[in-house]
Subunit: 369 residues, 2 copies
Amino acid sequence: MQTELSTQLGVEHAVFGFTPFPAVAAAISRAGGFGVLGAVRYTAPDDLRRDLDWIEAHVDGKPYGLDVVMPAKKVEGVSEADVEAMIPEGHRDFVRDTLAKYGVPELAEGEAAGWRITGWMEQVARSQLDVAFDYPIRLLANALGSPPPDVVSRAHEHGVLVAALAGSARHARKHQQAGIDIVVAQGYEAGGHTGEIASMVLTPEVVEAVDPLPVLAAGGIGSGRQAAAALALGAQGVWLGSVWLTTAEADLHSPALTRKLLAAGSGDTVRSRALTGKPARQLRTEWTDAWDDPQGPGTLPMPLQGLLVAEAVSRIQKHEVDPLLGTPVGQIVGRMNEVRSVQAVFDDLTRGFEQAVDRVNRVAGRSGQ
Amino acid sequence: MQTELSTQLGVEHAVFGFTPFPAVAAAISRAGGFGVLGAVRYTAPDDLRRDLDWIEAHVDGKPYGLDVVMPAKKVEGVSEADVEAMIPEGHRDFVRDTLAKYGVPELAEGEAAGWRITGWMEQVARSQLDVAFDYPIRLLANALGSPPPDVVSRAHEHGVLVAALAGSARHARKHQQAGIDIVVAQGYEAGGHTGEIASMVLTPEVVEAVDPLPVLAAGGIGSGRQAAAALALGAQGVWLGSVWLTTAEADLHSPALTRKLLAAGSGDTVRSRALTGKPARQLRTEWTDAWDDPQGPGTLPMPLQGLLVAEAVSRIQKHEVDPLLGTPVGQIVGRMNEVRSVQAVFDDLTRGFEQAVDRVNRVAGRSGQ
């Protein structure tokens, strides 16, 4: 599965794997794809340094990248406490009451309350970049808008390609104007923050909008036939996130969550503002239902919602409170039905891709395949 | 673009075109695809007979089919008046007030109030079938669930294949158990009634669920690269509806509506219950916004909503009241930017398909294409 972009990056297959787990990222790169480590959970630069050291030691010299969360808009002159004060008391009561209703225990003294997407993440992301550029990363992806111009320049000085996620052609063109190198077209069916436009429509639209920039298709891809479809749509590669969550190398720290992912069907996700205040696809749970219920208080805008629920989500995850337990994941969760190694997922993907190419050639009457 | 199904039906390309317009259906079949005439708007059997006669005279002996709307559930012992009486007065007021707000004129004396999906459509559909089986139709599709067993048998006695739309694998398996021959997997991005699962995920899921039944992919398809993607996903053909609405042969009776379709982007549709009470993708308008507004009365369940708004929708269409004017259409509307002949759409589709196959072969390293 070779495109100009995969050749440029020196990988065997144009398969980009986004994951928060260093062991998964390294395994993806070792398998011939391109592992991208999600950095959002690293609040301390030294933790990131430790995990990049680990990847370096386990990636067999194969290329890999980093995904940061750097908001396009800066928030200046407003403290986190100022924003906390903007959260209505009724919403805090709703969180408290919902946790009480399900008997969710407190966190232990000193336990971290989990990551949260705030307007202050740029500082965190910049400190991550100070670390990352010490390593031979080949790609820097940003999950929230285009990175600031100085970050794009700095990446280019280090020979690092810059990618950004887009849910519409308009959004993709803004990235192009910001000088980024690769657009990840994130379809409606994808896990995490998504727009309304499905991959079948979004991918070719973005490909045409930013031509000649390479586009990676994200959303709904977990098999070789889906990869072949994305490449037929004009993508230069596929960007997979969800499918790695149930690999043997992933470390969800929650057997209950792994069970829920393995059991879920493609209809068991919801695009909800419950997690961050912006629509993000995730497992549908009684927690998302409570936030999406018209009888409830409703969600707050980003970054308020993320601040409001950060501790609650950590408590739910830590104590594996089943009816409330969820995670960002795409509709492809319906095909994640057993724990497999990253290599096994990869083998399936490349074999399925070849079969899909055979099928398309038969349909096209090109029998000499 | 040849599959087992297209060979079985004797068409050159596995492209199925659904349309309410006889001229479009005939042109699709003449171009080498398979035209499927939507029968929902024919309340008088003689009107259907007249249009099937027209198709027979213009299809050059090529095969074609018919799409009916036959609800799976019968409603017995309840009259249309009984159901009308179930509509709350507040909802009638809301319709009246909204029409008044936009100054929507009345229909002229004797003008029909448009079609509506009700529990009584089975009688209408059966009278349509009595007509249809006098013609050499090759396919009978049903847009609402599986057709009743006697209808399936009758079709098979006439050598007519039966297709049914499904928005989930579970739904598709029910069709298979009902003895239908073809499943149309209708993705989230499609126009009209849709589920939540996007084509990229839905198509392979349905293909595996009903194997060895042939599956047609619907939703998001309007170009050759999208057709190639659908075939890579395992479909035996593609089912296109929206893309024909802006062809030269289509007769929308509304230049304003055609203009809106040509101008709309892929983000300008909404999946709303405003039209029938079930979620159906359509142009987003101030009419759908009014029904989807949490401050409004909200929509009623099928068949109440359809009965409630039938006359209002006819008035809006008849008088081309721009802010309220809409139609069922899929996200592919973003690529419908000029009026073209059916043949031109077809030529683009087949050329784009060949290019997409070339692209996929290059990616797969099969250079001898």
